[in-house]
């Protein structure tokens, strides 16, 4: 799986490439919109990391062009522009995510993997946090590589929290994810499932913790 880095600052692109290599991704580096077009045309990349301010034009023009050609290549926009309007423009032009400089390498990898794990994308099946692994296709859970059984609804909660690990998942999203459009759902149903999931994870020895952010939602993170 190859990634394309479009960034005109040679030092930064080298460091990003090294960081990605550390996470197990190979990447090619180009430094202009022209080279980016050519690279996308010739190689089938898994995703593109796109800087907006390029010497021969705006990175967004490359993005718009790709989307006009119905090219589904996932694009993570990486930019020094952090203004409101810039972010809105970026996402409207078809970016899958938007990360403002300076960013943490960890976050870049996490966001990239989140994009790659979206349905239909290459990065497949397993979600990982600490000693916990979840296979999205078989819906199997492993702790320390040993399979564990967790009940169905709790597994749904685990999946959505794992997909967005380190970020707060609004309670409403968890609710929709478990029940779909089932209609009336008891107001404390999500709390009940989350607390059952917590209990089961502890029993299985998973080194993860589910934080409650009262009034907002839940966040899964590594236990420290």
């Amino acid at each position: 799986m190859r990634l394309l880095i479009v960034e005109d600052n040679a030092e930064l692109s080298r460091l990003v490439a090294n960081g990605l290599a550390g996470a197990g991704y190979e990447s090619d580096i180009v430094a202009s919109t022209e080279e980016a077009r050519e690279a996308v045309h010739n190689v089938s990349y898994a995703a593109m990391i796109l800087d907006l301010g390029l010497p021969d034009g705006d990175g967004l023009s490359v993005l718009r062009e790709l989307r006009r050609q119905m090219e589904p290549l996932p694009v993570l926009v990486l930019t020094a522009r952090g203004g409101v309007q810039d972010r809105v423009n970026g996402l409207r032009s078809g970016a899958d995510d938007y990360l403002a400089k300076p960013f943490a390498m960890e976050e870049l990898v996490a966001r990239l993997e989140a994009i790659l794990r979206r349905p239909g994308q290459l990065l497949g099946r397993s979600l990982r946090l600490a000693n916990l692994v979840y296979d999205t296709e078989s819906r199997q859970i492993f702790v320390d590589d040993k399979p564990r059984i967790i009940s169905s609804r709790e597994t749904s909660v685990l999946e959505i929290l794992l997909r967005r690990q380190g970020r707060v998942v609004p309670k409403k999203n968890v609710e929709d994810h478990i029940f779909g459009l089932e209609g009336e759902v008891a107001s404390n149903a999500v709390e009940v499932y989350v607390s059952r999931l917590r209990k089961q994870l502890t029993e299985h020895g998973a080194k993860v913790v589910i934080h409650t952010v009262r009034g907002v939602g839940y966040m899964m993170a590594e236990e420290k």
């Binding site: 930064l12 960081g19 409101v84 300076p102 960890e106 009262r214 907002v216 939602g217 993170a221």
Partner: protein
Amino acid sequence: MARVGSKNGSLTGSKVRAPSFKSLISRIVFLHIIAVAVVAIFLPLVLFWLLNSEIDQLHRAAMRAQAETLAERIVVRPDGRVTFNLPDSLRGLYSEAYGRYQYDIRDDDGRLLFSSHRKTGDVASDTISGAEVTQTIDGTTVHIRVGEDLSHRDVITDDIVSNFFRRVGWITIPILLILLAIDIFIFRRAIAPLWRASEQASNIGPARTDIRLPTEQIPREIVPLVTAVNLALDRLEDGFRVQRQFTADAAHQLRTPLAILRTRIETLGDGTVRQLLHDDIESMSRIVVQLLEIAELDTLVLDPGETADLRAVCAEVVGAIAPFAIAQHKDIALKGAEAPVLIHGNSEMLQRAVFNLAENAIKFTEKETSVDVEVGDDGSVRVRDCGPGVAEEERELIFQRFWRRDRQRSDGAGLGLSIVRGVADDHAATVAVDNLPGGGAEFTLRFRLADKAVSAPA
């Protein structure tokens, strides 16, 4: 500022001796009243004087005509004797019984030849005014003087003069006052465009440097001033734009080197130094972001029709900042309204304000304590922490840019709360801080509720 002001005040105070009027109209009215007063006094006097002299003129001409009539009656005999034969028709007129007209006829040496009255003395005494005619009849020069006793003067002429002020002179005062009123009216109309221009000017501020004063309808004498002011505003706007652009560019330019630095640090092996460097980069990046936010805030022009759901904004912020709080073993919770709270404002800007408040609260709250963000149905957001609170004398200072209580702390540049204040100002909202009875601070933002009937989603 206050000191400079008072200094200026005493300076002008000592320089200006005459009453100084701040208003052009009051200055004009004042000078006009003086002019009216002077004219009101002198005009009747001048008219009175002119009337009197005209009457005197007429009187003298009449006397002269009478003297000439008398002269026709003087005959000089061949032996040099002068005879005067007053006809009967005129005798009555000059009789002492009638007492109104008198005449004296003298020769060249001043000897009295004939007189209408027996008393010695001049015809021209205090009450008698008259005219003298000198005629040479057959080589003999005679002086004929005719006088009229003014105490018996023509009644009509007398009345006109004595009643002049009461009957005629007063009219000048109302005329002058009406003129004054008309002048004030004309002047007010003339400067009305200036009022409109100043109203326009009052909207100009750092966030609205694009406004220019209208030059239409401005009196031609003032147009150079207005044009000069507009040109000055052009130059100021340029300066402002350069300044803002610089802040924005500088912040942008810092981002790539920061990204490089950060990534490079992350490739270092694990260790305390790495963590410390990482934290430094983290706070520096935050300052850069805040600088950009400030630069953006300075140029922000809000759409007055824009509304935002305050609850959604706060939920977003609490969700975004919770990982940061949790990493520091602190807690954050969203409380209050369950339903959307629609207010006038821009969601992104509101998020920044609430984010900076929440970030500030997390920074100061104790470990293992919670920060509460409470949304009120009345369009308010309260952010409570369990920190040391804010001292009374610091409650204004904390909202100033770059103000920090503890200069030793390196986690922030003191920009967060100034951004909160900036967003509040742009939204015509208020921000206040109080200490909680049980310790900790409570920041309250109050926004204007949007009309639910119009903009609430179905």
